[in-house]
Every structure is written in structure tokens, then in C-alpha cells.
């Protein structure tokens, strides 16, 4: 029974056991760890990271990186504040908006639509011009951050309207709405990826782009849609984050990118594309959030925490590299499973 049922079950869901272990580890390490407020804080951190990670996971499943999501987040939050806040003379590093004072119900759609537009540009550059996706999205991030700085002029913009803040800061009986929102998003996207034609196409394109094409799919379209979703989710993440902080900070979201990649990889999304689940990525997000939160409570220097994140990424990569060796894939490596005849490199045979 162990071998056939329990063993594989643990292996398939290994990450959840790791999460549990780490959590227990912190229980021993930190006094009074097992409080509702701590759990909520963990989930709060997990919410923004989580939403961004969904986007990253989708891109990774299609076989690409999106390193620009944090830039999108930064730009959209700055833009939103800028559009919603009344005009105010800038002083003491604080400023107001442009003065249009747009209603949040107008600004929120603008955010997500703009996020999708940015994703579209990423997708177009990468699929049509065949530029390396890593460097493209990295450069895009630079541009987006720059744009965020241009609009904010380096100032923070406090005072976002209450209606806007509802998602990020509101609570229903002590449970933050943003956490519920995040979990709902995970559920929705997990369902989409598992049960819809879109999910199938995405996995196919990421698993073997050429075979997907020969099966009637359009890899360029799929990849572009993946990037658009990532941008869309960055917009949602921005809405949550800005609503929670109630002030727009010019350099928001720095460092999120690698965390999203790490969370996805830890959660089972292969860097080579074609596999992984959204809930698995959530486990990765939880793990990182627990570690983050726990180390914070222990008053570890924040930059050491960043270093720990980097180390986790390296470890996750090492494990991933080992997994690749065991994964006999088709389409990624020439030859695949052993052919019956001699190597087909020579002509004729």
C-alpha cells in the first residue's frame, strides 16, 4: 500500500509537505507563531505575490519568461494613483495626481486593459521578431519602470479613494478581501488550465511548439495571449497592492519577478514549459511567503532575506536541472525515446 498509493501521493504533492514542514519548523522557532494574525499576514503577502505568480506560471507553461510583470505593476499603480488623486502642490516628496480625479470604476479597467496591452507588445516582439524572451521582457521592465518614474517624478502619492482600496484593504469579518480574491483567482485559473481548450493549447505549445503547430494550434497567438494574461494579472495585483498601501510608491514591486519564477519552479512548473499546475505554484507562493514572514518576525535583516530568496531559487534550479535529466521528453531533445534503427542523422535510413 505504501509503495503503490501513499508513496506516489507524497511525491506528487511533495511541495505541500515541504510547506507543512517549514511551517512546523517556524512554530518551534518562534514563540506565539500559531496566531490568526500571523496566518493572515502570511496570506496577505502571498496575495500579491500569488497573483503575479499566476501570470508567470502561465508564461512559463507556454515556454517563456515574463520578467516585465513587476514593471507593469509599478507603472499601473503609479498611473492609477496619478489619475485618481486630486492635484496637490508637491512637497516633502509627496505629490498629488494630475487632477482629473477619475472614478475608481474607470481607473481599474484602464489598469487591466493597459496591462493587457503591455503583454500584447511583449508577445508581439517575442513571437514575430523572434527576439529572446528573457532579454526582451527584461528590457521592457526597464522601460516600464522608467515610465513609472516619469509619471510619478519620484514622488509618492498618498490618499487613494476608499472605493478603490476596498479590494486591497477591506476585510470581511477579519478575513482580508484580497486573500479571498487571490484564492478565487487561483481557483479560476487552475480550472481554466485544467479543463478548457485554452489550457490544453497552452500546455501543448509549451511542451512542443512545432508539434502543437502541426496539430492545428497557433503558437504565436497562444504565447501572446499568455503574456496578455500576465499583464492583466499584473493590473489586478496592482489594484490589490495599491489599495492595501493606499499610497503609490515609485519603485514598487522590486524583486517580485524572481520570486514569481522561484515560486512557480518550486511548485512544479518546469522552466522548459508544458507542465505544472496553478495550485502547485500556489504552494510555492505559500512557501516563500511563510519563509519571508517568519524571517521578518525573527528580525532578520531584509536584505539577508533577499539573499535567502536567491539561494532558494538556486536550489530550486538545481533540483529542476536534475529533474530534466530524468524527464524523457519529446521535442525538446532530438531523438527522444530510443529509435529501433541506427541514429537517423545519416541520410536515407
Amino acid at each position: 500500500m505504501w509503495r503503490s498509493k501513499i508513496g506516489p501521493f507524497i511525491l506528487d504533492h511533495l511541495i505541500w509537505f515541504v510547506v507543512l514542514l517549514v511551517y512546523i519548523f517556524f512554530i518551534f522557532l518562534i514563540p506565539n507563531y500559531l496566531t490568526p494574525s500571523n496566518m493572515i499576514n502570511i496570506l496577505l503577502h502571498a496575495s500579491v505575490l500569488g497573483i503575479l505568480t499566476i501570470g508567470q506560471a502561465i508564461c512559463l507553461m507556454s515556454g517563456n519568461f515574463d520578467l516585465s510583470a513587476e514593471g507593469t505593476l509599478s507603472l499601473l499603480t503609479v498611473l492609477a494613483a496619478w489619475l485618481m488623486l486630486p492635484y496637490r502642490e508637491a512637497k516633502l516628496a509627496q505629490a498629488g495626481g494630475i487632477g482629473w480625479e477619475l472614478h475608481p470604476l474607470v481607473v481599474i479597467p484602464i489598469m487591466v486593459l493597459l496591462g493587457m496591452a503591455i503583454g500584447y507588445i511583449n508577445g508581439a516582439l517575442i513571437t514575430r521578431l523572434n527576439i529572446n524572451n528573457f532579454i526582451t521582457t527584461l528590457a521592457m521592465q526597464l522601460i516600464l519602470r522608467g515610465a513609472a518614474l516619469v509619471i510619478s517624478m519620484g514622488f509618492i502619492m498618498p490618499g487613494t479613494p476608499a472605493l478603490f482600496n476596498w479590494l486591497g484593504g477591506g476585510r470581511i469579518a477579519t478575513i482580508p478581501i484580497s486573500v479571498v480574491f487571490t484564492i478565487v483567482l487561483f481557483a479560476i485559473f487552475s480550472y481554466i488550465l485544467k479543463n478548457t481548450t485554452f489550457g490544453r493549447r497552452l500546455y501543448a505549445v509549451g511542451g512542443n511548439r512545432e508539434a502543437a503547430r502541426a496539430s492545428g494550434f497557433n503558437p504565436k497567438k497562444q504565447i501572446t495571449i499568455a503574456y496578455m494574461l500576465s499583464g492583466f494579472l499584473a493590473g489586478l495585483a496592482g489594484w490589490v497592492l495599491l489599495g492595501r498601501l493606499e499610497v503609490s510608491v515609485p519603485n514598487l514591486g522590486q524583486g517580485f519577478t524572481l520570486e514569481t519564477v522561484a515560486a512557480a519552479v518550486i511548485g512544479g512548473v518546469a522552466l522548459s514549459g508544458g507542465t505544472g499546475t496553478i495550485w502547485g505554484a500556489f504552494a510555492g507562493v505559500l512557501l516563500l511567503s511563510i519563509i519571508d514572514h517568519g524571517l521578518n518576525l525573527m528580525q532578520v535583516d531584509p536584505f539577508f532575506i533577499n539573499a535567502v530568496r536567491g539561494a532558494i531559487i538556486l536550489i530550486a534550479l538545481l533540483i529542476e536541472a536534475q529533474k530534466v535529466r530524468f524527464r524523457r521528453g519529446m521535442g525538446k531533445k532530438p531523438g527522444g525515446a530510443a529509435p529501433v534503427q541506427a541514429p537517423g542523422k545519416l541520410s536515407g535510413d
Binding site: 481548450t197 501543448a204 502543437a212 503547430r213 531523438g335 525515446a337 545519416l346 536515407g348 535510413d349
Partner: protein, 509 residues
Amino acid sequence: MEDQPDKIMLEIKNISKSFPGVQALTDVSLSVMKGEIHGIVGKNGAGKSTLMAVLMGIQQPDSGSIMVGKGTFSSMTPHEALEAGVAYVPQRISMMGSLTVAENILAGEMPTNRLGFVNWREVFREAENRLTKLGLKLDVHSRVEGLSIVEQTMLVIAKALFSHAKLIILDEPTAALPRADIDRLFNFVRNLKTQGVAFIYISHHLEEVFEICDRVTVMRNGTVVATDDVRNLTTPLLIGLMVGEELQGFQRITPPHAEASQPVLEVKDLVRRGRYENIDFMIGKGEVVGLAGLVGSGAASLGMSLFGLERRGPGSVTINGIPFTASNPEQSFSQGLAYLPQDRYQYGLVGIRPVRENVTYPILYRLAMAFGMVNVEKEKKVVEEYIEQLGIVTPSMEQLVSLLSGGNQQKVVFAKLAATQPAVLILHEPTQGIDVQAKLDIYRIVLDLSQQGVAIMIISSEVRELLGICDRILVMYEGKIIHEFRSGEPETTPENILLAIEGGAYVEK
């Protein structure tokens, strides 16, 4: 020409090699003298590739010995093969394109002065020297990526010689070359011959073999059928040897069809610059038509461009009278044409996804409900049906495709295509890399499909296979359809077909 012991460059004695399920080489012996250009010809599957792999040390023989230069080996590593002087020139040349010719020649041994600094003048001079010694004129200052294909080929040969290669294996070197370049290459090779270099020349272009080779070895079914001086041979003789007993009544694997009823696929005046031209043919309902041709004949390209994986040129294509306008696979499927790719690993299947998903990729739209949700019940039923119909051996439909055997993987691709209920099915080398039992299964599947009325085209160079299941066989050569053979007619013999495929010039019997 007698074998003088001290002039033997290479001697292969009784080499046998088997893989699981197939005996690739049986008791193969051949020898190559110094300064000889020795051709090796044979159909696909005759064992040429395996033999070369053994020679290069990539594969280890089960028995037998190889004598190269001074040493005798019962098995070799690639490194030992190189050391012994065996060099292989592949069809796809791969050099350091962004570097100059001189640097490609001298990579790893750049001349330096006393202080260890590269002496560029010496670099170019030395490279120039080496090339001149071989009678090769190239601009050593130009980047390799800017050279023409024949120049790159000659450079690769030159490089091998600089590394003290004594035996050079040329694998279809003229596939992409115009006549003028072929002449250039042959002159170069002849020149090297006088310097004692030995060549093994593998080619399907028999006229070329006659032009450049001294002796020829014919292989068939993993054995050497004959070795003789080229002057004692003729093209028909060679083909006869390549085909062998199949001459006497080949087995018709599937029963012949009734006369083709209405045409399903009609192609007129199809042309694609650089690939094929003047393509006119028709496939009737339930007909199985073979399309045979060498690499470079345009057959493969025709298949891919009909399906939409490659661009198609002008010309008219209709299916059941309706114009077929598909320019990509998705449109092809919906307009009734499906294609089985030659390389299932790269183009056929997504290995890390399960069987169930792979089978239903092209028909997802049919299984979709509201909001794009997949009706898994329906899907499982469909996949279940095909697994049974085609006899796919798999623990479950959730099994990752990469874990199946080659034959079953191919059946999965068939299932996928059959599920689209095509009017026309194009198969490209459908039994490549599959064991014998699975091959028979595939033939049965093809027969079933044709009985259901699907018009089938099989692109293959396996003459026996084509003769076994096709009603008609079209032969392509250098971009044109040069002949149509009909099943049951006297001219439709393996020799004639092979003659047409390999020789191009078909002689009426």
C-alpha cells in the same frame, strides 16, 4: 583492381550489428584502398547509416573487426575512430560561421609568436598554404557563413585532412548543389585522390556514383550484395542488385482496390520556387497513392506545403470539388486534409502530455462546451474508441506519450489524425523507426481508413512498402512528377520504380 595489402586503407571484416527487434547488419565485409573513391549504394534501410555509425565509433558492432590505417579494432570509440583517421562529412555542415575561414582551419592551434600573441599574418599565410596544398582556393579572410554550400563542404573536407584524416566519408554531399558546384566538388575530390586520400561516397544519385567512384558496394537488408569495379556495372544492374529478390513477386500487403471512383483530391499546376513545379495529380475516394522521391526531389516539401506547415506557391488544389485554401494546419484540418509528419518526435507529438490530450488536439473545438470547457466524458469516449480501433498499447490514456514504444506513438498520431475525419490523409514515412509487428498494424490501419473512403497519399522511399499497399505510385525527381506507376501493370516493378526514383531517367520497358 586487386587488393594489395599495403595499399589497403580500410578493411571491414564480418561486421554484424543488431538492435532490439531488428538485425541491422549481417556479416558485412568491404575494403577501401588508398586513393580510392568507394561508393556505397542501397535503398533506405539497407544498412548504410548503421555501417557508417559503426565506422565512426558511434555504434559498437556485435562481432567482426575494422582495420583502419595501422590499427585493428573490434570496437571503437568516436575518439579512436578520429585518431585512426576516419572523418565524416555530414549533410548539414556546421562550422564556426561568424569566424573567418582561416580561424576555422586553425582553431585550437593558432600560431603565436614567442610571447604567446597570435600572429595574424602567420594565421592567414598558414591557412592559405594548407588550402593550396590541397588545391583549394578560398578567401581565407572571409567569414565562413558567407561561403557557398559547396565551398563550405570542401572546407570541411580540407579541415578533416588537416587533422590527418585518411578516410573521408561523404554523405550525400551533392544534395543541395547545382551542377557547376558538383563539378567543382568532384574535381577537388579527384585531386585529393591522387594524393592518396580514400573516400567513401554515399549517394542516391546513381549517375554521380558512376561519375566519381572507382568501385561500388551495394547493400541490401543489412548485407553486402556485391562489390565491383564501376566499369563492370550499369545503372539497371545496380538497381537490380539493390532491389534483389523482391523482383520475384513481392507480397501485396493489402488487397487491390476497385477502380477509383470520384476524385477527392485534385492538384493542378502547383509550384513552389526552389522545391517543385508543374505538379498535377489526383487521388480518388479510398485510393492509396504513393509518392516516392529522394531527398531533394520535392516530395517531402509537397506534403508539408499542402498541409500548411510550409508556404505553398500558386496552383489549384480542390477537395471534393471545393477549393482547398488552407495555409496553416488548423485550416487544413477543418477543410479536410490531415498530415502525418515524418519526424514524430519533433512534429508529431507533445511528449510530456498524456495520450488522451495528444489525440484530441485538433478536435478540441468539437469537444468543447460553454466557455471552452472540455467535455471530458466525451473526450474519453472518443479516445477509448481509437485506442481500441488502432490497437494502441498503453497502460491508460493518461500515460505520457514519451513513454510509449515507437509503434504505439505512431498509432497515437494516427488516432489524432483519424479523429479529424479527414477526406484526404497524407502520410510521410509512416513506418519509419517502427518494429515489424507495428508496421503491419499500421498497414492495416491504412487499409481500414481507405475502405472508409479516405483518399490517402503516402510519401515514402520504401519501395517495397509502396508496392505493398498503393494503388498507384507517383515518382518525383528534381521537383517534377516524372512517372506514374499503376498497381498490377507489368512495368510496375521494384527495379523500375527505383530506377525512376534514383536515376530520374525512366526507360519504357
